[in-house]
Symmetry: D2
Subunit: 162 residues, 4 copies
């Protein structure tokens, strides 16, 4: 049999999200980076290995696996979309003080080159371009270890007082 | 302990992709729907339950799970992006005869409403708007059982002779 | 000499915009349709001939001219972007009561087919997909007299109390 | 009477476009910059004052005028879309040798801040991120004289042999 299998585990995401509402975005993300708080399920689902959060700039590493593949023999576009959405959304989150929340209104992803397992680990970087009172804009890119770009992204987030 | 766990399995995606190159897109997708060919790993990763492929129109069902959650207590935007990318890309694929291939150049996703587990199963629909010689355009939407829209998408794909 | 020339006129846009703040969006757009209030300069710049505004649905007609051309012998992509931005933004505006305002956060335009003068007049339609408390989403399409689609668009707008 | 008026002139765009097909993209753009060949009508329509073309990087200056205004008292989003589409498309064009052509498949524009006449002249910059055999990707930004960003853009272009 040629079947492959993968098991992943996660913690209750609602408990973490509630704690997150009492922290600044940056503190919350740092607590997840260090393992003080459990990362969200999507990180385990996708296989995100590390996250580094700074003010307005978040990077994540993702080891590419066969389980990321689409029907046409390469990494599914949703993988790049998911990790770029993550780093861009977290970059916006990293700028929010306690009492402010955000949600993503839209993302756009451009696929510059196909990705395969041969890439090993890819790095996603999200950066805030402008954060106003009601909206924030961020951009992202997905590169390999040598800095070659595979995908780019842009996003608009709504921001408000809780 | 509050840890949750999920295990999924898949078959070698390169073997299927190679077979797919000898079939029309619609035949290939139908073979995956019926189980004649194994669905790609991403379907198992995300948890896609069913796919129905017609010419230029593909729908998929996804039961929402806690493992789809983001750091802020709702379904991660990458989930909608991944399934919308899937139905839109497959809708383009469904129009290609043997000897033609496609790749996704870009997607854009709008998030109209937050999604939670309470939704149960959501349905994604992808529809080709125009397919030319070098490019195809498709649109998609993600709705609940009552037809309420949670996300919309648009995509551009490159098309060429293998 | 082969030079061509075009002259257009407009009224003070700030005066109209101020009046608009005392009216519902639909009343304001209808007043511009009927000529009770002057249309904005951009309508004259682009050459928009007619506007019909309904709740959440706005259409405009644009006679294509040589003055819309780009450096590669067809209608510039900015023309479709401008009229689609107009019908989508106005569709959102048409749903706002007095005391509410909007601004456009992003647009995405897909170019399905090239446009030339031979098309005569094209029709742009903008339609609201969802309008919440903080954001509204609309889609648009640009068709010829026979309904053939040349471009599609999607937009996200911020909405707030003045 | 408070009516304002503007007159602009242009040359036959099809004649230039035909000449362009016998030149590299960069030579063609440079010839338009220096006035050796007439700029396309859209440049005159919008009011683009200058263009500087380099390999994969094109900038244009636009003095903002009242004639660019929308119905809600600021510069219409189509103005940023049109100039960003121009610099991004021309940046792609600048990389094409004789015998290769391009067309724009899609643009996405994010509006970071509103623009008014008080800005004076804005500068749009388009830069190619990746140019392959069948597709090219470019990004753009619109800034004021001090570098403050008002809008960003991304685009996908198809490329082919004539």
């Amino acid at each position: 049999m040629s079947s492959r299998s993968r098991t992943f585990t996660w913690e209750d995401p609602k408990a973490s999200a509630l704690k997150g509402q009492t922290m600044s975005g940056l503190d919350y993300l740092k607590a997840m980076s260090t393992g003080e708080l459990p990362p969200p399920p999507i990180f385990h689902l996708l296989g995100i290995a590390t996250m580094i959060a700074n003010e307005g700039l978040v990077t994540m590493e993702l080891p590419i696996g066969e389980y990321h593949y689409n029907p046409i023999g390469s990494v599914h576009g949703g993988v790049a979309a998911t990790i770029l959405d993550s780093v861009m959304g977290c970059a916006v989150h990293s700028l929010l003080p306690v009492g402010r929340a955000y949600s993503t209104l839209e993302i756009k992803i451009n696929y510059l080159r196909p990705m395969t397992e041969a890439l090993g680990t890819v790095i996603a970087e999200g950066r805030v371009i402008n954060a106003g009172r009601k909206a924030a804009f961020a951009e992202g890119k997905l590169v390999d270890a040598r800095g070659k770009i595979y995908a780019t992204g842009s996003t608009t987030c709504a921001i408000w007082d809780i």
